[in-house]
Symmetry: C2
Subunit: 601 residues, 2 copies
């Protein structure tokens, strides 16, 4: 059975050293995030995830969720107990506002717990993950009464939440929604329609489930501008605010999926269910996007999480399994064969995984810090910069992070050879689970269009200019440091490819928007490559400074320097190839008629 050990050392490096969280101690929420507190949370969360969540990951996949005849759903063996323990330990409330019972710590720390949880058991992590999204939307758009009624119990995890967007005929294009909301005399609505792919839609973990549902009021505009958001609790609250009457929302079936079997992905049937409007009529999409953006960062993190856990097991196997001999001669002549760790092609896959994971972790935690700064930074200018940067980076974290996370999980499965294909070893589950992250919360193609069609041009390109400046500044500084200058030069070249690609879009996309669509996915990858390169430069800067102090765990910092060099030589070159593809435009891509795609005749 695969195992998981939280990457505590690397996480502490990013938080305490690279990001230097302690230096933000003057900001609200950060005052309690001392290094001691950070270390404790990292270590304890790691322990919890390894010991409680990881052991039920494989059994959860095998058993899956069960829908009973009455429409109720039970989660796999051990999930209820693990969920109670998760709530009991307070992991759900970490970064939630104190006024609703949260601990008020920075979001950055919640991201750490989210990564570890998703590595240990992605299907499990989705239950609290969905609740987070729903509570964020309630916090942002709810009336004081709504917040009071729902938030405290959602924040502790006593109740859970869901997002209901998709319908059979309607995925990305939310203008196609058909679910109806009929206003009632008491100000509530009757919600009727079918929602599909509802993660954590029905289960036995919590005493109530608060569904947030997109629907149309009578006469609403027939487009995405006619969508409203509704709170639809599984149990309507009684006069004491406790779960009362069962509402008209039922699980029609559980989807049979490729992976994340332990999360119940439901078809939810709404049959005149009682709902309450959340936020303004016809402005439901805006409120939903509060959830969506948080959720997209969480999904990007899942890419990292599956890459990390599969990497750990890849390393274990590579050190244990013996086949063949090192190319330069036997590494262990007394044994009948060497560990496959000695083979360069195995090492290539392990190193690719290592540098992706550590670079991605630095990016995700930096991203989480930007979310904190969006709210808590001292000046409007700083808050705006953080908001610009995280808005720009969200599709990259989600899209690039999950594309690459999936690649890594596949490579780690590959390390196992034939055993990687057999369920018992657990590697194929990581691949199946990782696959969904490229799809949900907007496919990675949708992320690419969000990046290129919306974020790049937004506010006159202010965000991308800030991104370029941030990296230019880091490069300029690094070039004056002998230990970093080679890295800086290579990153500058890759950044140059991104700048050229950006310019190409500016010069060509107006005349033909298909040129933008044709290059968007390439651009997202170029930007992901450059961004991780930037975070490797930052990590190398931190490591190089630490090495100057002759630290006790010198090997850790030396490995950072080698890894940074490996990243530069093995990941950055793709930026140039992707730019060439992007500059090919859309002419040949869009030239062929439908009939040309038929292969028979």
């Amino acid at each position: 059975m695969p195992t998981y050990t939280a990457p505590t050392r690397d996480t502490r490096f990013v938080l305490n050293e690279m990001l230097d969280l302690a230096s933000y101690g003057n900001l609200p929420g950060f005052e309690n995030a001392t290094q001691d507190m950070i270390d404790t949370i990292v270590n304890e969360a790691g322990k919890f995830c390894s010991e409680v969540l990881a052991p039920i990951n494989q059994s959860g996949d095998e058993e899956g969720c069960t829908r009973h005849e009455d429409g109720s759903v039970t989660t796999p063996k051990g999930f209820k107990e693990a969920y109670d323990a998760y709530v009991e330990a307070g992991w759900a409330t970490l970064a939630k506002p104190e006024e609703f019972g949260g601990q008020g710590l920075p979001h950055t720390l919640a991201m750490v717990v989210e990564e570890f949880t998703a590595s240990a058991n992605q299907a499990f992590g989705m239950y609290p993950g969905l609740t987070n999204g729903a509570s964020a939307a309630l916090e942002a758009a709810g009336t004081p009464e709504q917040k009071e009624a729902y938030l405290p119990k959602m924040i502790t995890g006593e109740w859970s939440g869901t997002m209901n967007l998709t319908e059979p005929q309607c995925g990305t294009d939310l203008g196609l929604i058909r679910t109806k909301a009929e206003p009632q005399a008491d100000g509530s609505y009757k919600i009727t329609g079918t929602k599909i792919f509802i993660s954590a839609g029905e289960h036995d973990l919590t005493s109530n489930i608060i569904h947030l549902v997109l629907a149309k009021t009578p006469g609403a505009p027939d487009s995405s501008k006619g969508i409203s958001l509704f709170i639809v609790p599984k149990f309507i609250l009684d006069e004491n605010g406790e779960p009362g009457t069962r509402n008209g929302v039922t699980c029609g079936s559980i989807e049979k999926k490729m992976g994340i079997h332990a999360n119940s992905t439901c078809v939810l049937n709404y049959d005149e269910a009682t709902g309450y409007m959340l936020g303004e009529e016809n402005k439901g999409l805006a409120a939903m996007f509060v959830m969506m953006n948080a959720a997209r960062l969480g999904v990007g993190l899942q890419g990292l999480a599956q890459a990390e856990v599969s990497y750990q097991n890849g390393v274990t196997y590579a050190l244990d399994r013996r086949q063949g001999r090192g190319l330069a001669g036997p590494a262990e002549p007394e044994a009948k064969a060497d560990p496959i760790f000695v083979h360069p092609d195995v090492r290539r896959m392990l190193m690719d995984a290592k540098v992706f994971n550590e670079g991605m972790r630095a990016l995700c935690l930096w991203g989480a810090l930007q979310v904190d700064l969006t709210h808590e930074a001292q000046t409007e200018e700083e808050r705006q910069l953080a908001d610009d940067l995280i808005g720009l980076m969200t599709p990259v974290i989600k899209g690039y992070g999950t594309d690459k996370g999936y690649d890594i999980a596949n490579n780690m499965q590959q390390v196992y050879g034939g055993h990687g294909y057999v369920k018992e070893w657990g590697m194929e589950q990581f691949v199946r689970d990782a696959r969904i992250a490229m799809i949900y919360e907007g496919t990675n193609g949708v992320q690419a269009m969000d990046l290129c069609g919306r974020k790049l041009a937004s506010k006159g390109g202010r965000a991308i200019q800030a991104f370029f400046k941030m990296i230019d500044d880091e490069i300029a500084e690094a070039k004056t440091n002998e230990a970093l200058s080679d890295l800086a030069t290579k990153l500058e070249k890759a950044l140059g490819e991104q700048k050229a690609a950006t310019m190409w879009f500016m010069q060509n996309a107006m005349a033909n928007p298909n040129h933008l669509g044709a290059g968007a996915h390439h651009y997202m990858h170029i930007m992901g490559i450059v961004t991780l390169g930037f975070f490797w430069l930052k990590q190398a800067k931190t490591a190089s400074a630490a090495l100057a102090g002759n630290p006790e765990d010198k090997a850790f910092y030396e490995a950072k320097m080698t890894s940074a060099a490996y990243y530069a030589e093995r990941f950055l070159p793709d930026a140039g190839a992707l730019r060439r593809k992007l500059e090919a435009g859309s002419d040949n891509m869009m030239a062929l008629p439908e009939e040309a795609f038929s292969t028979a005749a």
Copy 2:
């Protein structure tokens, strides 16, 4: 449910036009392969695969194989009937030698049937596929009596075959084999040991199964030079040559796998089973490699096959599913939304699939022709050239073909959005089934080392020089043709990257063989990219010549020209990036000690 329609038009284009099979009519076996015969086989095989094999692909995945308490195994519903129909129709005997009951047609035509079969039902195709490998080894290494006893019934498909290499402690490194062969007074052997991952190891499709088993005789050298190959029939033949006494080989269990559920992947326990040596003692590996090389081409073809069937269903969905609007304005203003086919990012994935599939098909069928020419070409020089080329290309077809085939299957799943993740739509099965092809018959890392560590340097680099010359010649000719010169120039650049990478290996790998290992996978991909570029240039040449004749189906040839241009702009650029990675060598890749791969502390 997904569907499959054989790509008959494209196959006929490759066979009749690009390869001009009719021009080989003077060679043995080819005399009957007239264009009429070719067209009939292509069309009938396509029909059979679409109508008989494709409909039981999804149900076969769901049901899987069942092992009963007595060790017997039943295949999923409909498989036995489909197998009987396959045998009845004569698909098994197509390219088999007439002296053993085959039809004696070129191997090239058998490859067509193999592609269609693997697209329609990969798990099914493995049953006759394994028999092919086993009968090829028997043909190459068997005594006249052995051939007489086993070949006729294996060739018709009345009996099937297997390859038994892997053991729990022994995968790639066959020197670690422990299965023992004790010589008996009558010249036979008693085989004892455990083999794992034996595809088609036990089933109910045939009345006998002829296992070919690697084992060690007493006192054999303790390395891969001490391995012999044995024929171990499930039922020992009686005096009439019919299945008689049940032999001591039993299925201990069926592996639970990620995919290809309808193929029974068995643990086979040999308990003093009666076996007969095939070929010379201690030379078992050589005989096994006859099977292996054929099998590797077949596996490369599976990469294409899964890419093709997933592509077809991707196209269907993209034309059917409506979400959003074209970037340049509504394509179908009267409808509520446009088909997702209008979105450039969807088209990018479809075009990537189309040009990979058509390029790969041209490569595979050309490769099959080389196999034919190895035996049948008129001069020793031609036979040797064909042998050099197919030996060189086998790891590329297997390694690059299955890596990319898997990518394509994943992209086609992506086209489906959330529905791609749900079993009912069938796309996730294509991904799960395609995944094995990167692993079995030698992982793609092993293929890369076969290419770079063995094939490149073999006979003073004769094969790679012949490969370069073949492409150089085609480029030189194309440069004189206005319709092809741009394509030729781009291919020349990519080929230049491969030549430079080859040179880099020559200059660096002697000093440090790890440099070779570190770049082998990159090299295999560079060569795959260049090779498909070469076949796109050849297809464009053929199409451009056809267009000059103002043919009836002009659109088909025009699509070839556009596709060739798309391939050049979207696939070739990666060759340069891969070369840069390769030239980074192994220093950073191999620098870190074991401890540095631990993520906790």
